[in-house]
């Protein structure tokens, strides 16, 4: 019953995407290729990117930047969250700043990064960090806050060392929320990264997109965009796998 439901959903999802491609294909019959190139041209371009090492390197580069930025935001955000958790006063001072940062558009960070810093990679890292840090911090803080006081007291009654408490209680309770936080921030980061790459990158999906715009090559623009979508899909799949792995006890209970 359940697997049927999932299959049905998958079929519907594929059908809707095929429908979109079909509409595009029909449009390509009526418009010049620089506006609506045929689907086959886009597919050919996508294939080219995936099979040419040189082009695929651009995809990897962008993926690395997304991942690096998220990792940085995760580590700094985790640290900040612990800090805020430890002191209400600190939270009262730092939260407004994070909320303020959250309101700054990615493009503003691009301008700031270009003026402040020289290295291209550092500029990109900075932009990725600043745009994802507030959300990561708030999400981790929320996860820590919602941790079970009951389990905490129970564990404490055995007098664990700090590391034991972290490994046996904090980590297992926080992992599901941390995965969710990554999921949410991943989509955000994938959108921001192409903007961040406008700071003078000479490689990466953002750089390639800019080139396609100058060449008026719509097939290329779409093909490069699809790389990002593909990257997000792959990462989501990995996160789902991790989630299923860490939450397998829930699956067991649902089957029971």
């Amino acid at each position: 019953m359940m697997s049927f439901g999932i299959n049905k959903r998958a079929v519907q999802a594929v059908a809707s995407l095929v429908g979109l491609a079909a509409i595009w294909q029909i449009a390509s019959l009526f418009f010049p290729p620089f506006l609506f190139p045929p689907v086959t041209a886009i597919a050919k371009y996508v294939w080219e990117i995936l099979t040419s090492w040189e082009m695929f390197l651009d995809v990897l580069m962008t993926s690395g930047r997304i991942f690096g930025g998220l990792m940085g935001a995760f580590v700094v955000g985790g640290f900040l969250a612990l800090l805020l958790y430890s002191s209400r006063t600190l939270e009262n001072y730092i939260s407004p700043i994070l909320t303020f940062l959250q309101g700054i558009p990615a493009l503003s960070w691009v301008v700031i990064a270009i003026i402040w810093f020289h290295g291209v990679e550092f500029r990109i890292f900075f932009i990725m960090l600043m745009t994802t840090l507030p959300a990561f911090t708030f999400q981790i803080l929320g996860a820590i806050r919602s941790m079970s006081k009951d389990l905490y007291e129970m564990t404490l009654s055995f007098r664990p060392r700090r590391m034991q408490l972290f490994r046996m209680l904090y980590l297992p309770t926080l992992i599901p929320d941390i995965i969710t936080a990554w999921r949410v921030n991943l989509g955000n980061a994938a959108r921001v990264v192409v903007v961040a790459e406008l700071v003078g990158a000479t490689g990466g999906v953002g750089y390639q997109l800019l080139r396609q715009q100058q060449l008026f090559d719509m097939a290329g623009a779409i093909a490069w965009t699809l790389q990002l979508v593909l990257f997000v899909l792959v990462m989501q799949q990995i996160l789902t796998f991790l989630e299923n792995h860490f939450l397998r006890y829930r699956a067991v209970s649902e089957r029971a």
Partner: protein, 254 residues
């Protein structure tokens, strides 16, 4: 006889959320628990029983007076109590991501006991509590009674010098609770454990305690009685009447 637990003129106040004044949860409480004794603590909800437990388990410090377990202060001497206290709570407090066996292993893991030996001990406890077939089940898949058995096994597994039970069976149906009570007394006596057992059921107190202590609010002793093997049913009935009177007496004062 050595005392495992010693409360001396313990007072615990909480800052009131509403008026900022002090709310007295425990007032001038003095009492001892001797080694090997099972003391049942009776009292109405909110009379400070759990607060007394938190003082004993070192989660909070007394406002004044002293709390000692084996002569050590549970709040400041945090390290000393590694593996010496076992607590069974009203709710089972099992870690949902650990199997029954792994939940029982928690305390032993914290004490750095060798893995092989720990697994054997944990399996032994699950067997004694009739859960051998459920070692690898996750808590979600177990009934309330089974889960509470696992949490009993978890507390017993570290061979604590002091067992603290905070209404552990009150959420279970009467049949299950009765079985577990009998098992609890049997195991505690076999192991010569010292135990403090909180309950709001007079029958449970009579079944479990070597001694019964009745609390009035704020936690202070209003009545105390000792039971032995020789205590007759007749005497228990009288005791029961007396306890009801003491508990009811508080209502009139309040």
């Amino acid at each position: 006889m050595t005392n495992v637990v010693e409360f001396t003129s313990v007072r615990k106040t909480f800052r009131s959320q509403t008026d900022g004044g002090d709310f007295v949860a425990v007032d001038d409480l003095t009492f001892n628990v001797a080694k090997g004794e099972i003391v049942a603590v009776l009292g109405k909800t909110g009379c400070g029983k759990s607060t007394m437990f938190n003082l004993l388990s070192g989660l909070i410090a007394p406002t004044s007076g002293t709390v000692r377990t084996n002569g050590h202060d549970p709040f400041t001497d945090f390290e000393y109590f590694r593996g010496r206290i076992g607590i069974v709570f009203q709710n089972d407090r099992l870690m949902p991501w650990r199997t029954a066996l792994d939940n029982v292993l928690l305390g032993l893991e914290i004490l750095d006991r060798p893995r092989q030996e720990s697994v054997e001990i944990a399996k032994g406890w699950l067997a004694r509590l009739g859960l051998s077939a459920h070692e690898n089940d996750y808590p979600h898949a177990l009934s309330g009674g089974m889960r509470q058995r696992v949490s009993l096994a978890r507390a017993f597994a570290v061979q604590p010098e002091l067992l603290l039970c905070d209404e552990p069976f009150s959420a279970l149906d009467e049949m299950t609770a009765r079985d577990l009570r009998a098992e609890f007394v049997r195991i505690t006596k076999q192991n010569h454990n010292t135990a403090l057992f909180i309950t709001h059921s007079i029958n449970e107190a009579l079944e479990i305690g070597d001694r019964i202590v009745v609390f009035h609010r704020p936690a202070k002793i209003a009545f105390e009685a000792r039971l032995t093997k020789d205590t007759s049913e007749q005497e228990k009935v009288q005791l029961r009447e007396k306890i009801i009177e003491v508990l009811a007496g508080e209502k009139r004062m309040a």
